[in-house]
Symmetry: C3
């Protein structure tokens, strides 16, 4: 089940340069993305109304898309505006169009009722294009459900098992999380006090690996699939838990997942820092380190999905204490999906 | 749904040389083709009556086929005539055999009731071995329904979008077709008057690309899947529309599709000309040009089939004027299939 | 359908060296094999109780297995004994464990009720580690049902069609088998008297290819999937049929099949001889010759399975005289499976 009335990331801005057509499936629907003559993104159903050839096999003509089979032309609203060889367009010759907005270096698509699409509700990922931050990011295709990816991001007790050489330290799991349930989000916060920094932190921050730091992992989950993670560390006892981060380093590890099908996903992420911003070596290091760590998660999630797919008995899954945030988030999303179904 | 009581092309003659076994699936049934000692083609079910090993794993013994597992021998009627190690053949030890006839360089198979198989009803493709014509051809395997391939061939308004550099000119779609419905066929004719010839025509016919010609596309559809296309051009105003082709060039672009499964097909075609017959460079050019153009269609059809397969909502398809011939042909075939079902 | 209360071979001993985890599916269940600190084999469900990641993605810790996602630890009984970050293990946190016994160079697993697992019922394959014999063997993965493989082994009339250049001679099928039905096994015996030896025999035994020998194929089938084949030959008339093998050569061609799924299998075999035991060239020759011949069977079985899978009509299979042993074995196995179902 998917939440339909919601903004999802369809693509990075640079994945849809002027003059090219990008085909991608979201929520089980084939979509084609391109830019009109003014450079604004357009999202249409990837299927001609006539004989169902994917429009990705066609070509951009001005601000319209022309099918590559018999030349029917569709405008950005999905209306067929020309049928070669005849003067009238037959009634009903239209395809779905999807609201699409470009913001924070991402193209956001609305897969639900277009009348309900309000760009003001696009989640805040300003770190991705805010000049005060330097952000790196990528997109992974994952053969796993979006729910498994969100679960992964909301329970960071996995970092010492999955990311032992990058993000993890042995101590993470011994510091419990504090979960706060809001109407619009779940907050999952962990403070790891008076401990060594993980490898990625001391390398990026030029810290002493043997130093003692107070480290934070403050996770905000916004349904359906948006995860903003405020991470960083400061010298132990320098006041970070009380708000003074002036002696520390801050990063945002941000993620958003767009379902492709029930069991596959587009996983978009960016990682932003506000220190050593002019050092391209650090930028490159963080892109590789964050991407490498998240790709370790992809391996886990794909193995997990395959295990679930072959489990014909639908065996139960046991919960542990670390799942508190995950469970709160699942409930919030389930409630949203139920509300949406009830309104239909 | 398939029309069973009908001749279909199983293979080119040269695909089944003496001494070799060809396995191919038609109408969802596995079939094995080989030649008997006299060189006559034989078509049997590709499945031993004993333990269902494909007989394609066996060997030809005289005019019979011997299974490669336990040595059972089947004659051209499908009857088991020998079981090694025993003197009696068990009752019921037989497999299906299919009427098969070699004509016009193709092997024709009858997948329906053998008693109804009349070789006189094999469609006329004499251009493929008539000494007055030089014919080139090939076979494509297509991951698409036979109906999509037939639709493609009956509506040539696609040529300017799919074959712009070979068969197409911009004007095709502006000249409407004239559709005639007969009991046994549909005729779909288009005359493109006083226009430049398409690239393949002026290259093959050594014409002036800037010349003005009267060009014809006269399509005969015979159910279930036979399409004979009479194409050519003559100098504009030289009388071709009234029957005088003496100053023009004529070609036959002929096609026949054999369903493999509901969503895959064997696509056989040949392209014949009656001019510059002694020039092997033209023969080679036409083989490459026609094959290249038809392979562009294969790409379209496979994309279209994939689009249809993933359309869980079974969305309707809008018709346009150019579909008149396609729709007439679909109705004629549907009527034949219904008649056949009613008789069973 | 599978017989569950039965020993199956899970792996060769050398496939599970200390410190490594082997993942393999048996009877449609994912299993993970490893060795405890004492070197004893352990078999667990390959699925963490928490979020179903395969435990094959984890690591061995002492005599336990730790999940590679959140670090849950399972002991050899399948009980979760540690959840990082909490002091209590949640009730119900356990996975299946399977009885496993190492014998005759194979690891034997019991997929049924553990209380019924009696190592005394492991079938006798002593030839595989008896110092009086030299044994070679291997494991094949087969995309075919275990029943097809057993059928293949119980009807050796196929050897002259499938293994003409190795195990076969033209005469095999002309010598009928003698089938004896016991409560616990089926015995299928064939004597081929006064005939030339097959190529593998005269090469291994250094015999005259033109010699006349009395040759035996004495097959014992133990349900569900165990096949012991006593093969050999002695000079014609030297008394072998009456028990005097002193002038001949003896080999055991032994097989056991473990279902992976309904249509795929793990096929384990070994081939033992008690002559020319110190000659490594003969050992090497027999490993290649036996393995090569059995691999010919794999090709046949996979083609047969594919043929059965595409047979939507479920066409009947005709039986022949040579199937007497196969049919007796199928009945014995069917009876065991019915008995087991009745007891549940």
């Amino acid at each position: 089940m998917f939440l339909r009335n919601s903004w999802y990331v369809a693509a990075w801005d640079h994945e849809v340069p002027a003059g090219t057509i990008l085909a991608r499936t979201f929520l089980d629907e084939p979509v084609v993305l391109f830019r009109d003559e003014a450079g604004a993104p357009v999202a249409l159903e990837d299927r001609c109304a006539h004989r169902h050839l994917p429009l990705a096999c066609g070509r951009i003509v001005g601000s319209t898309l022309q099918c590559g089979y018999h030349g029917l032309v569709f405008d950005r609203t999905g209306l067929c505006v020309r049928v070669p060889g005849q003067t009238q367009v037959p009634p009903g010759a239209r395809i779905r169009s999807y609201p699409v907005v470009e913001r924070h270096r991402w193209l956001w698509i609305w897969m639900g009722d277009p009348a309900a699409a309000d760009p003001a509700t696009i989640p805040d990922y300003h770190w991705n294009d805010d000049p005060k931050w330097v952000s790196v990011g990528d997109r992974f295709h994952v053969k796993g459900s979006y729910t498994l990816i969100v679960d992964n991001l909301l329970d960071l007790s996995h970092v010492q098992y999955v990311h032992g050489t990058t993000l993890g330290t042995d101590a993470v799991v011994d510091f419990p999380v504090h979960v706060t349930r809001h109407d619009d989000r779940v907050q999952i916060d962990r403070w790891i006090l008076d401990n060594p920094p993980p490898p990625m932190f001391w390398r990026a921050g030029n810290l002493d690996p043997a130093a003692r730091v107070d480290r934070w992992q403050l996770i905000s989950f916004y349904p359906p699939t948006h995860v903003v993670i405020d991470v960083g560390c400061a010298p132990a006892g320098s006041g970070a838990p009380h708000g003074d981060r002036s002696k520390g380093i801050e990063m945002y590890s941000n993620h958003t997942i767009t379902p492709e099908t029930k069991t596959s996903s587009h996983y978009f992420w960016h990682h932003a820092r506000n220190f050593r911003r002019d050092d391209p070596a650090i930028t490159e290091f963080l892109k590789k380190a964050a991407g490498g760590a998240f790709f370790e998660d992809v391996g886990i999630i794909e193995a997990q999905q395959a295990s679930i797919d072959t489990d014909v008995e639908k065996l139960p899954r046991v919960d542990i204490n670390a799942d508190a945030g995950v469970i709160a988030a699942q409930r919030l999303l389930a409630r949203r999906i139920e509300d949406e179904a009830a309104r239909r």
